[in-house]
């Protein structure tokens, strides 16, 4: 074997061929869809770079070259330079606040000579690398509050910048890291509250505060009662006392003082007072879970009045409308229009679709953003259920492949990184496709490898090829690995 042969072999040595093939197929499907969505038969110069599909072809070439470059690099650079890259990513995010361009209300873009780049796309790589680096530290443990706080700071910094950019959708991607954290052994008691608070936040738009408050009290009481399972008499006593005292308080307030307050006020007061007893009980019996329930109750009570405030302050009007429209609270014709047209395009595809370049809804431009965020409509309409199913299965296979890569990593760094990008991809796919079929509110989040957008394709390519590279170096070190 000559040195030259060894080098060319070394480039692909240990690389997961299935994953690379999946990647190539996905990007080609993406290109074909963008071509369909932006092809204009009346154009005089079909090869002009002014066409979206030609731009995408160029970026596809650049991405593939970048992929080769990443495979050429020693995978250890990612571990070494992860914090440096993170710092660079944060700087890039901050720079948008100063020199950014505003697109669709989000000041999250930087214009570079005719191309627009969204630094968040690249910052995701940096965040994933930094997270992996931090969690791969020898002494790092998800059970240590200090480590959790450090990790939280690492994630909240870019999230905060995203909120400032008014690009909440991208920021929410970081929420998907919960998926990775669960894999890494995050305590159930931390997963549940986070999900609980997220749910409460959404429900607070749907229900009135009083309804939610009552529901909260009931949930809390039941949880507390569950915790007291050692002594069911005590549980009954607790609930009975709670109601008796609250009713008496109510009578006292209304009959004696004639204050005219609602019963819920008495109930809430009594419940909060009873917390003291519950905490004492939890301390005596050393029931850690009960602490968390009490804490969660307090946080929830605090969130209730602030959720409206956050909704109004943090979210821009069009975002509020989208969410309200999605929840069916108000009718926003524009948000509804996008989703309706998208559903019509996909639904009219039927089993086998209308044929490539034959989709009337795409051709005639009824679906807005049909080559970017709503690219799935093109596939749904032109290739029907068969095509949609194939694409979804490809994406699922790709994500599962990344998770498998993570699982077979020898290093925590590689595992965490692979799961990080699997979470990011899963979030993107869920939100993007869910949005086109009316399952999710409309957020400006692209479909990885498929949606039009050079920086997005480029960033996702780098992101997954870092994982491929890490995976390849692991596999090369395995004793069972056979050189091709």
């Amino acid at each position: 074997m000559t040195a030259r042969e060894r080098n060319s072999v070394r480039l692909f040595a240990g690389v997961d061929r299935v994953a690379v093939i999946l990647y190539v197929v996905l990007t080609l499907v993406g290109f074909a869809s963008i071509f369909s969505a932006s092809w204009n038969e009346t154009s005089d110069s079909p090869l002009s770079l002014s066409h979206n599909y030609m731009k995408q072809a160029m970026w596809l070439g650049i991405s593939w070259v970048a992929a080769l470059v990443i495979l050429l690099l020693d995978s250890s650079v990612w571990h070494k330079f992860s914090y440096f890259i993170y710092g660079f990513g944060i700087l890039a995010l901050l720079s948008t606040l100063a020199i950014g361009t505003t697109v669709n209300g989000a000041k999250a873009w930087i214009s570079l000579g005719g191309f627009r780049i969204q630094p968040m796309e690249f910052a995701k790589i940096a965040i994933a690398l930094a997270t992996a680096r931090m969690m791969s530290e020898y002494s790092f443990s998800l059970d240590k509050p200090k480590d959790l706080l450090r990790l939280g700071a690492l994630l909240l910094l870019p999230l905060g910048i995203a909120v400032l950019q008014n690009d909440l959708g991208s920021g929410l991607v970081l929420g998907s890291f919960l998926f990775m954290l669960y894999r890494e052994g995050l305590n159930n008691w931390l997963c549940v509250p986070v999900l609980f608070i997220a749910m409460l936040f959404i429900l607070s738009f749907v229900f009135t505060p009083v309804t939610l408050l009552v529901a909260l009290i009931v949930v809390f009481t039941l949880s507390a009662v569950m915790m007291m399972r050692e002594s069911w008499q005590l549980a009954i006593k607790y609930v009975a006392t709670l109601f008796a005292v609250s009713i008496m308080l109510h009578l006292l307030l209304n009959l004696v003082v004639e204050s005219g307050t609602s019963y819920y006020v008495s109930l809430l007061t009594t419940t909060i007072l009873s917390l003291v007893a519950v905490i004492v009980y939890a301390f005596r019996k050393s029931l850690r879970a009960l602490y968390i329930i009490v804490l969660l109750f307090f946080v929830s009570i605090m969130i209730l009045p602030t959720s409206d405030l956050m909704f109004n302050k943090v979210l821009k009007e069009h975002q509020q409308k989208r969410i309200q429209s999605f929840l069916g609270l108000v009718s926003d014709p524009r948000a509804d229009y996008n989703v309706n047209q998208s559903k019509i395009a996909i639904g009219s595809g039927g089993v086998f679709g209308k044929g490539y370049l034959q989709g009337s809804q795409i051709r005639y431009g009824f679906v807005p953003e049909r080559h970017t965020d709503f690219i799935f409509c093109t596939i749904g309409e032109e290739f029907g259920f068969v095509g949609s199913l194939a694409l979804l299965l490809l994406l699922a296979a790709f994500i599962l492949r990344l998770m498998r890569m993570g699982d077979r990593q020898q290093e925590t760094f590689g595992r965490v990184y692979c799961y990080c990008i699997a979470s990011i991809l899963l979030f993107h796919v869920l939100i993007n496709i869910g949005m086109t079929i009316g399952l999710m509110p409309v957020m400006g989040i692209p479909l990885p490898f498929i949606s039009y957008g050079g920086s997005s394709l480029f960033a996702f390519t780098i992101m997954v090829f870092i994982a491929f590279s890490l995976d390849a170096s692991t596999r090369r070190e395995l004793p069972t690995y056979r050189y091709i």
Partner: protein, 610 residues
């Protein structure tokens, strides 16, 4: 210490979550694409349109084959916002050609912008020249769509012909399923009466709105052009009658007695039917609507005029039939009829007089006697029963009811019935109470069409054909059977000759209407001078000619025209002469009629209630 990555569930649950998420996505896509069937048609609705193809409306000819109503081509200017030049368009030139106001154009363009891919209406009713000018501008995204509108070459008979306009919401509710918003429908006159024949059948085409040519259109129904109609009107006569009536308020109706065909139906004031076509339709319509003389009101069929002395013909005929009057009966008249406090005035004439002279000279007193004879007939139990009989006779002449002609909106006129007088006089009334009826005054009201029909009935000696406006319809062998049926009055034919003799005498010997005399044509006629509370008497005249084998029966009614002889007679005789001889031998009479000034009273200045 817990070792990361080795907990079995910690690696299984994320995979289950991935399966779960993709499972939900796949199920949802499957539901949309495989189960929910709505989206196919919704997608089609997005770009396929059912385009209605309007048929050309049928044309209307007069009895001599002259065009009364034609269809002419006009163009609607449409714009597709997406295709308009990016640099803007020469709106100044566009405004100049389309005669739109800048505001209207702005609004139309804003409309087009709202649906940028669809052709939106910018301007209606462009002429061929304007279309060519637009073609010269050669603006992409602007195109014209041909359409037909009505054209009235003779510019006569506005009320008679009616007009075509966009259907109103109100009409839409009442009409059949055929119509849709934006459709055109005949309004008034022949256009309305023969709407179903004239309109044809709409065609339907399934059209891809983004396809530039129509080659991809799927034709569902071909449009069927409307049938053309030959109407009974004599255009030349109608124009002449309208010309004579200019400046007067009233109506001229002429009927061919042997067929019931309406030769002339001129209501005055009238309007140019062409005014109600095209861009100015709305403005002109409102102008006519607000005109205090109400040109849009078709007086020839809708008004309720007191018939005046012309009604003596009917009373005379009833008297003869009832046997309470014989031609040789003579009554005396000394400047009127007196009974107790009642006085019905009359003019000077020789006395006593018999029936034919009473008709010729229009003696009021004579017919007061006749009317009393009818009502105080001992054959009937009471005067009121006799009155019922009188009403039956009057009804058989077509008064107080619709004649069931093919003309929509025909009025009934008014003949008071027994209940009316019972109510008004608290059941105590007799022949003297209702004596005004004897000379066609009082509560009586009739349309000029009914009066013309009376003339035709007498000309036919006892029967009439229902007057109608249409002679033949393209593709139909005959009209409705009712137009071929002889409608006999309750007066037997032999009694008519005496009345005809009186009418002939009135014109040709020594009557009130000697002005109607046409040498060699044996014109018969009866004048009427109807008193009314608003001003000078209405002038009316019914006539037919010639006496034997009559060819034309005519009724002229001129509001506030004075004596029957002063206005109505000259108009009638000129129309008759025109019809019978095709010439006018008395140009001075034409001048007289045209220059006759009539003072109209404040009745016409009443403001319309808004």
């Amino acid at each position: 210490m817990k070792e990361y990555g080795y907990n079995r569930w910690r690696s299984i649950i994320p995979r289950l979550l991935v399966f779960g998420i993709f499972g939900i996505l796949i199920l949802r896509v499957a539901y949309l694409q495989l189960i929910d069937g709505r989206y196919d048609s919704l997608a089609n609705d997005n770009y396929l349109r059912y385009v209605v193809k309007y048929p050309p409306r049928g044309e209307v000819f007069d009895r001599n084959g002259e065009y009364l109503v034609q269809s002419k081509i006009c163009y609607d200017l449409m714009a597709v916002w997406r295709d308009l030049p990016k640099g803007g368009i020469d709106t100044l030139r566009l405004l100049e050609i389309t005669a739109l106001s800048p505001k209207r154009l702005e609004k139309a363009l804003a409309d087009a912008r709202m649906s940028p891919r669809q052709g939106r209406l910018i301007a209606k009713y462009l002429s061929a020249e304007e279309k060519l000018q637009l073609d010269e501008l050669n603006i992409t995204g602007l195109y014209t769509v041909p359409r037909t509108v009505r054209q009235y070459p003779r510019k006569i008979g506005g009320n008679l012909l009616g007009s075509v306009g966009e259907i109103t919401a109100d009409m839409l509710q009442r009409s059949s399923d055929y119509y849709a918003i934006g459709d055109y429908i005949g309004i008034d006159g022949i256009e309305s009466a023969y709407e179903e024949e004239l309109r044809g059948e709409k065609g339907l085409v399934l059209h891809d709105i983004y396809a530039r040519d129509e080659s991809s259109d799927e034709i569902i129904n071909h449009p069927k052009p409307g049938k053309s109609i030959v109407c009974t009107i004599d255009a030349r006569l109608q124009a002449f009658a309208e010309e004579l009536m200019r400046g007067k308020v009233g109506a001229v109706v002429a009927i061919e007695p042997t067929t019931g065909e309406i030769l002339v139906m001129a209501s005055s004031p009238t309007f140019d039917p062409d005014e109600l076509v095209g861009r100015e339709r709305g403005n002109n319509y409102m102008r006519n609507l607000n005109n205090p003389r109400q040109p849009l009101f078709n007086r020839s069929v809708k008004s309720k005029y007191p018939p005046g002395s012309t009604f003596k013909l009917v009373n005379g005929l009833i008297g003869l039939q009832e046997g309470v009057l014989k031609p040789q009966y003579r009554y005396s008249c000394h400047n009127g009829y007196d009974y107790g406090k009642i006085h019905v005035g009359c003019h000077e004439h020789s006395s006593p007089l018999n029936l034919d002279y009473a008709i010729a000279t229009s003696c009021n007193a004579y017919f007061c006697y006749v009317f009393r004879n009818i009502l105080e007939n001992k054959e009937y139990e009471s005067i009121k029963d006799a009155y019922d009989v009188w009403c039956d006779y009057v009804d058989s002449f077509g008064f107080g009811r619709k004649l069931e002609s093919d003309f929509l909106g025909e009025g009934r006129g008014y003949v008071p019935d027994r209940a009316f007088y019972d109510k008004r006089y608290h059941k105590s009334w007799n022949a003297l109470t209702t004596l005004s009826l004897s000379i066609g005054q009082g509560e009586l009201g009739c349309t000029p069409l009914q009066l013309a029909n009376l003339a035709a009935t007498i000309a036919n000696r006892g029967y009439y054909y229902i007057p109608h406006i249409v002679r033949s319809i393209e593709g139909q062998d005959s009209l409705d059977a009712r137009f071929y049926r002889k409608n006999y009055t309750k007066v037997e034919p032999q009694h008519f000759e005496t009345i005809v003799q009186g009418m002939w005498r009135g014109v040709n010997v020594d009557g009130t209407c000697q002005g109607a005399k046409l040498e060699g044509w044996d014109v018969c006629g009866k004048t009427g001078t109807a008193q009314n509370p608003r001003g000078e008497d209405h002038s009316t005249f019914v006539s037919f000619a010639p006496r034997n084998n009559p060819r034309i029966a005519i009724a002229v009614y001129v509001e506030h025209g004075g004596f029957g002889a002063s206005m109505a007679v000259p108009i009638a005789t000129l129309v008759e002469e025109m019809y019978l001889t095709d010439t006018i031998t008395r140009p001075w009479l034409v001048d007289y009629v045209k220059q006759k000034q009539i003072n109209y009273y404040n009745a016409y200045d009443r403001k319309r209630k808004k």
